[in-house]
Symmetry: C2
Subunit: 308 residues, 2 copies
Amino acid sequence: MNSQAAQNKSADDLGAFKAELVAVADATNATLDKLLPLVPGPENRVIEAMRYAALDGGKRLRPFLAVASGDLFDVPRARSLRAAAAVEMIHCYSLVHDDLPAMDDDDLRRGRPTVHKKFDEATAILAGDALLTEAFTVLADPATHPDGAVRANLVAELARASGVHGMVGGQMYDLRAAEVNPDDAGLKRLQNMKTGCIIAVACRMGAVLGGASPATVEALGQYGMDMGLAFQIADDVLDVESTAAETGKATGKDAAAGKATFVDRLGLEGAKNLAHSLVKQAGNHLAQFGNKANLLQQAAMFAVTRRN
Amino acid sequence: MNSQAAQNKSADDLGAFKAELVAVADATNATLDKLLPLVPGPENRVIEAMRYAALDGGKRLRPFLAVASGDLFDVPRARSLRAAAAVEMIHCYSLVHDDLPAMDDDDLRRGRPTVHKKFDEATAILAGDALLTEAFTVLADPATHPDGAVRANLVAELARASGVHGMVGGQMYDLRAAEVNPDDAGLKRLQNMKTGCIIAVACRMGAVLGGASPATVEALGQYGMDMGLAFQIADDVLDVESTAAETGKATGKDAAAGKATFVDRLGLEGAKNLAHSLVKQAGNHLAQFGNKANLLQQAAMFAVTRRN
C-alpha cells in the first residue's frame, strides 16, 4: 500500500471520530447558545457580535478534545462541555482580533464576512474582549465543577495557555516573524505558542476536570501540543494546496504576507511527513489509555487528513 | 462656611488618604513590575507594551480600593495587592483598547503617547488582550489565596464586572449613546457598567479575600458603585473645566464627540451636586465599619475634589 493509499485508508477509519466530532459540535453550540443570551439593552450589539463569532459552524476541534479528554475520566458532559465552551470562546475571540485590519486584515472567515466587516471594528474589538472575559466567567462558575480548587486550576490553565506566554505571545511572534526570521526551532516555538497551547489546554482541561494526576494532565497536554503542531502544519499545507471555496477563507495569504511556514522550510512533502510523524508522536502520549483513547488517536489523524 | 469653603476643608482632611493612596500605588507598581517580567523572545514586544500600559503612573484608585477593603478584614497585603494588580490590569487593558483608532481614537493618555501610538495598533490590541488574560492568571494562582473556592470567586467577580454585563457592555453602550439617546436612568446605567462595575469589584474583591459575608461584600460593592458614579461625573466635570495640561489627556472631547454626560443633563452645578450626594450615599454603605473605614470615606470625597 503506497503512502496515498495508506492515508485514504486512515481517513476511512475516522468515521467514529467524525460522528463524535459532529455530536460534540452540536452540544457545544447548544452550550454556547445558552451561555451567551441576548439582552434588551444597547450593549446587546456586542452580544450579537459574540454570537456571530462563536456560533458560526466551526469544526469545534478544541471542544471535542476537551470533552474526549474528560470522557477518559468519566467527567460528566455537563461539566466538560462548559470547559469546551470556554476554550472555544478563547479560540473565537482570537480569530475575531486576528482578523482585524491592524492584524491579518481578513474580510472572510469560514465563508462569511469577518466580525469587523459584518459589524464594525469597535464592535469586533469589544466582542473579542467580551468572549475572552466570558470564558473565565464560565470556568469560575460552580456549574463547571463543585470544587473551587479545580475551577481555579482550570482558570489558571486556560489563562496561561491564552496569554503572553501562549497564544497572544505566539500571535506577536507571528507578526514579527518576517523581521525575526526564526530558525526551525523558533518556528516550532512560534506555532506551539500560537496554536498548540490552546489545543493542548483543551486536552489538559478534560484531565483537570477528571482529577487526573499532574503526569497524566501533562501527557494529554503533550498529545495536544504534538497534534496541534501537526494541525498547524496541515493548515499551512492547505493554504498552499487548497482553494478558497474549499477552506472558506482566503488562501495563499501566508506566502503573500511573507510568513515563515514549515512548507517554506521543508517543501510540501517534507511538511506533510513532519505532520504525520507528529501525529504518531501524539498518539504515543496516549499509550496509558489503550483503546479508551481511540477517538483521540483518530482526532490526531484527522488533523492531517482533513481538506479544510 | 459656604459650599466652596466646605469643599476646601474636606480636601484638607484627605491627607491620610492621599499618603495611603501613594503608598498603595507604589506597592501596586512593584507588584505589577514583578508580575510582568520581560522575556528574551520576540513576543517580548507585547510585554513591553503591557508594561508601558500598566506601569504608567496612574493614580491606582482601584488598587487602593481593593487593598483598603481588604484591610477592613485584615487581609495580608501580599494577597490584596495581587487582587489590586489584577483589577488594575483590567483597567489598563480597557484604556489601551478604548484609545484605539476604531474606538475613542486618542493619541495621548496621562501625558504620554497612547500604546498604539508608541508601538502600533496590532501590538496595542495584543497588549490589551494579554493584560486582560494575565489578570486571571494572577487571581487563579494560589499565592492570591490558599483556598481555591476564594480564588474562583475572585475570578467570577472580576470577569462578571469586566465583561458584557459590565465594563465591555458599558463601552458598547457608550459608543452607541448618541444613537440610543438614553434617558437619565439609562445614562446612570451606562456609567455604572462602564466605570462603576470595576470600581465596585475592586471593593468587593478585598471583602471576598477577607471571607466577608455576601451582605458585606454587597455593601462594599454598593459603596464602590456610588463612588464610581461620583468619580465618573467628576471626570465629566473635569472634561469641561480643565485644561489638557492639568489632566494629561485631551479635554472637551465628550462634547466634541456628542457623548451624553450628566453635565449636559444637569448643568455643571447640578452635576457637582449629584456627585456630592453620591459620595454621601457611598459613605452610608460603610456604616458597619465605623472609623475603620475612614480612608474609604476619604477616597469617596477625593473622587469629587480631585483636579485630575
